[in-house]
């Protein structure tokens, strides 16, 4: 694979993305929403005295933080528990960009001229994948950093330490890029089978279901956040899914299939 060609595709995709304000909004908006809800709750708790009865109702959850005061423990539970939803950003955003990109090329019939150059299919897909994954990774990391800093500033620096824990730093540096990659590859494969971006995104949207399920199960299980073992297990699982998707993608995306079915 030749880096020069991958970068050429990446540059074109990046220009395309920057000129698509709607898609840029789709990148930024979910990330900000997922961060704003728990931050608002933390600020609300900070500004108000908690009723001991209410604290009794969430006793199971604040027990995760025995070293903290009940109020800080409640805030700690909220910010760490909501962080599971950060994994939705790399699952949703790259999917939207990738499907838009492939379906857009399909509609414009611009795949054939590109494949008529010395560009290889793998280089085309690599450029597209990086261009779709990078904004999502950047958005997730940016919002994650902001989330830790803002909550630390609103309530107590101890919240910052909870956000920037080893577990979440590992999740951000490994699980987030892997989910991004899986989401893009799935988006590309699904896009090859349907004719409009919305349908592709609806089908590909099933990828968020396991993440939501994990987040909900975590909440009802009384667990504040993931353990390191769970993050590493997640890495392993998503890597396996990427492998399967790459195999399927290589069947779907050989030059001839693209030209006879997509171009």
């Amino acid at each position: 694979m030749r880096i020069r060609y991958v970068l050429a595709v990446f540059g074109k995709e990046w220009r395309d993305l920057l000129s698509n304000r709607l898609l840029l909004g789709a990148v930024a908006f979910p990330a900000l929403v997922f961060a704003a809800i728990p931050t608002g709750l933390v600020a609300f708790i900070q500004a108000n005295n908690l009723d001991p009865k209410q604290l009794g109702q969430i006793e199971q959850y604040i027990a995760n933080f025995p070293d903290l005061s009940p109020k800080l423990a409640a805030q700690g539970f909220i910010i760490t528990n909501f962080m599971a939803y950060f994994l939705l950003i790399p699952a949703m955003v790259p999917m939207a960009i990738a499907t838009q990109s492939v379906i857009g090329e399909k509609v414009a019939r611009s795949l054939e001229p590109q494949l008529a150059t010395p560009l290889e299919v793998g280089e085309l897909l690599a450029g597209k994948t990086i261009a779709a994954a990078l904004p999502a990774v950047a958005a997730t990391w940016g919002v994650y950093a902001l989330y830790g800093l803002v909550n630390g500033a609103i309530a107590d620096p101890v919240l910052m330490r909870l956000v920037f824990s080893n577990v979440w730093l590992t999740a951000m540096t490994t699980l987030v890029p892997l989910i991004c990659l899986f989401s893009v590859l799935l988006g590309i494969v699904v896009s090859s089978r349907v004719s409009d971006a919305r349908t592709a995104q609806q089908i590909g949207g099933f990828v968020v279901i396991p993440i939501i399920a994990v987040a909900v199960a975590q909440f009802f299980g009384g667990q504040a956040t993931f353990s390191m073992q769970q993050v590493l297990l997640g890495d392993l699982l998503v890597s396996g899914l990427i492998g399967v998707t790459v195999v399927i993608g290589s069947w779907v995306f050989d030059r001839e299939s693209i030209l006879t079915r997509l171009a």
Binding site: A8, R15, A108, E112, Q114, T117, E120, R255, E256, L259
Partner: protein
């Protein structure tokens, strides 16, 4: 130089192209004529290294299809049926992207982009997004894209589609310039007039090549070559019919209006003898012109014959 031998392409049970054999020399424009679904695009895609043939072989400037598809793509320029531009990018950005894909670097990219924007008369629109362009403007950018890297072999699918007459002439003239530079050019078209104007040889195809020849030779095959002789004077045209029947090179003659329509084997050589004979017999000739079948007649006859044959099967 393109050499094609027994090329075949099957898509599952469907045979798109079979037994394709032809050559396109350096500095030659070869036209592929055929109805929709005749296999023109499939043939071009194989020759451009985009899809692999099922059987047969072809070499493009010494590179075989099986071994050198990337090398073939590097020396090939292709104007696809649809312009296939990136609407959100400007004309300049579109061309610069393809220049990079064709391996150009640094200042060579800018030089090539500027040169070909000028060739297709689109310099003043260089920094506008192509999404806002008319069909003709998009076609011009697509033509520029196909030529950016100075390809040795060029495939043009309906090159003047969507262009106004002046722009179409500019493109035709430029294609003729490319021929003079020694490039091998294949033009796929439904436009018979354009094929006749542009192409040195034409291949009429429907799944395979039915006929390959120069436009004038194809026209002569359409029907017997005839010469129309217009007369003026007291003697009627019918008075010369017996004379014509006696001439060994005349294969038929009939009176039409105030003139004669004479069938000859080889009008190029025999017309002067015909004129001498008529003048010698006292005819007052006002004009003589050769009448051959149009390319359209030849095309429709060939395609029609194949259609009837397929229907009989």
């Amino acid at each position: 130089m393109i050499t094609v031998s027994g090329l075949r392409k099957d898509f599952k049970r469907l045979t798109a192209v079979h037994d394709m054999s032809f050559t396109v020399g350096d500095g030659e424009i070869f036209g592929l004529l055929g109805p929709n679904g005749a296999g023109k695009t499939t043939t071009v895609r194989m020759l451009a290294g985009l899809i692999a043939p099922t059987a047969g072989e072809a070499t493009v400037n010494g590179h075989t299809l099986r071994d050198g598809s990337q090398k073939i793509r590097a020396i090939t320029g292709i104007l696809t049926e649809s312009p296939g531009l990136h609407d959100k990018l400007t004309a300049r950005q579109n061309l610069a992207y393809y220049a990079r894909l064709y391996g150009l670097r640094g200042t060579a990219i800018r030089q090539a982009v500027d040169r070909y924007l000028g060739v297709v008369e689109m310099s003043e629109h260089a920094d506008r997004r192509v999404g806002a362009f008319s069909k003709g403007m998009r076609q011009k950018i697509a033509i520029a894209r196909a030529l950016l890297h100075e390809p040795e072999v060029i495939y043009l699918d309906e090159p003047t589609s969507g262009l106004d007459p002046a722009a179409a002439k500019t493109v035709r003239d430029f294609v003729a310039t490319l021929r003079s530079l020694g490039r091998s050019i294949v033009v796929c078209t439904h436009n018979l007039d354009e094929a006749e104007r542009l192409c040195d040889r034409i291949g009429i195809m429907r799944g395979t090549l039915l006929e390959v020849d120069t436009p004038s030779a194809l026209r002569r095959r359409g029907r017997a070559a005839t010469v129309r002789v217009e007369l003026n004077g007291a003697r009627g045209a019918e008075s010369f019919v017996d004379l014509l029947a006696g001439l060994p090179f005349v294969t038929g003659a009939q009176v039409q209006a105030a003139g004669l329509v004479v069938e000859l084997d080889d009008p190029g050589h025999e017309t002067p003898d015909l004129v001498n004979a008529l003048v010698g017999a006292g005819a007052r000739i006002t004009s003589v012109r050769e009448e051959a079948a149009t390319l359209e007649e030849v095309y429709l006859r060939l395609i029609g014959e194949i259609g009837e044959r397929d229907a009989d099967k």
